[in-house]
Point group: C2
Chain length 215, copies 2
DNA sequence: AAATTGTTTTAGACTAGACTAAAAAAATAT
DNA sequence: ATATTTTTTTAGTCTAGTCTAAAACAATTT
């Protein structure tokens, strides 16, 4: 499987995780910052290899085989991210692009040994689940901070948006995985939140609150 | 720089280390298992980028810039090999192909952090020198086992041939980096050697003896 | 010095993956 | 129901890197 094929599979996998319905050519093109015509070409190729179910003009979904392949790429991505943060001391906003490269290294043995070396983690540095060697995923129960009631307290267990900008913002506010967060007030006018992080009190927008997972 | 460009540079670098004279198109083609015409195409491209000095029909050599780039690839290759053996518990005959992939990961920061994580090693698991971040190489004084006199004792500090077959043979004979080796007898008829490795006495051919470095 | 052999380069073709522009199909609006 | 807009596909072009076959050059032999 080529790098490009792997990137398409991964993108379709992530899109399927949020949409249920078949994935459109345009949705893939947009996410990958490429053109719809390029996507069509690749979908034909992936369908030929029985990695996706593709019907002209009707969108695409992963086959069992494609799903497993995609999970293995996600597994690699998240294990490498964990390695970079835990062992090489990278911060959580730096690791995505590097993992995008490392996820294409071809060796089952390597990734399984890396998994063991890291102590078989079930979540990556952003709180996302790491599929095991057979593709099984341990679901983490969590909810968005924005869904929490006033006066409730929770622990930050993940982030929805993993962009560098958002993660740097969280660093600045001293919000990290494991941080205790308490909802002090919900402002109905602009849906912003007054929260306590550790000992500090800060105000965050609804957009921020709806990108933080709490347990 | 593309993967392919990097592979050509690395090959030229390794050929220059053993030959002094300019490197021929055919030598590169043979080492890379490709065709001479493909090599010519790439040499033009590398010359264009001022990574090599190339004159039609006269062979090629690395420029300063090319040399540094090649060293950085070798550095990455050898640091990843060290990581695989030291941290992930791979054996020394398994790591070459994996390092061929990992050496193309693009990030200076990553490789420097990996270097630190490994304790800034100066040699890889085969006893080859690892260039530092600025390309400097700590020369290791060593000689071939085949050049040693009778009754001399030395420590294995490296191997010349790093093929999986040869390394597996050494494993079988219980020869590893750090093994003490004593020359018991040199057989003049076939130039074979009677040696003691640790407590065991074995016979090895001249070919074997001329691929083991001793200090 | 000419002929032969071997090496290297050129010319032209191929593939994967991207692109643009145009055509076809589907969805939406009137 | 027809017209318009949007989405998707097709057709054809481009680039990087490879290849084969032929031509050009260099080295060796006679």
């Amino acid at each position: 499987m080529t790098f490009s094929e792997e990137n398409y599979l991964k993108t379709i996998y992530h899109l399927m995780a949020v949409s249920d319905a078949d994935i459109s050519t345009n949705a893939i093109a947009e996410k990958m910052e490429t053109k719809a015509s390029s996507v069509t070409d690749m979908l034909k190729k992936l369908a030929e290899k029985e990695l996706v179910n593709y019907i002209k003009y009707q969108g695409v979904s992963l086959t069992e085989k494609g799903q497993l392949a995609a999970k293995m790429i996600v597994r690699k991505h998240r294990l490498w991210e964990t390695f970079l943060v835990e062992k090489l001391d990278f911060s959580w906003d730096e690791v995505h692009d590097l993992a995008e490269q490392l996820e294409h290294i071809k060796s089952e043995k390597l990734i399984n040994k890396l998994d063991d070396f890291l102590g078989n983690p079930t979540e990556d540095p952003h709180g996302d689940a790491i599929p095991d060697a057979s593709g099984r995923i341990t679901k983490i129960e969590k909810q968005l901070l924005s869904e929490l009631e006033k006066n409730r307290v929770g622990i930050c267990v993940g982030v929805k948006d993993t962009s560098s900008d958002f993660l740097k913002y969280l660093d600045k506010q001293e919000i990290a995985l494991g941080s205790q967060i308490e909802i002090i007030e919900k402002e109905s006018f602009d849906s912003s939140f007054r929260i306590r992080v550790g000992t500090k009190e800060i105000t965050i927008s609804h957009k921020i609150a709806s990108n933080i997972y709490i347990k």
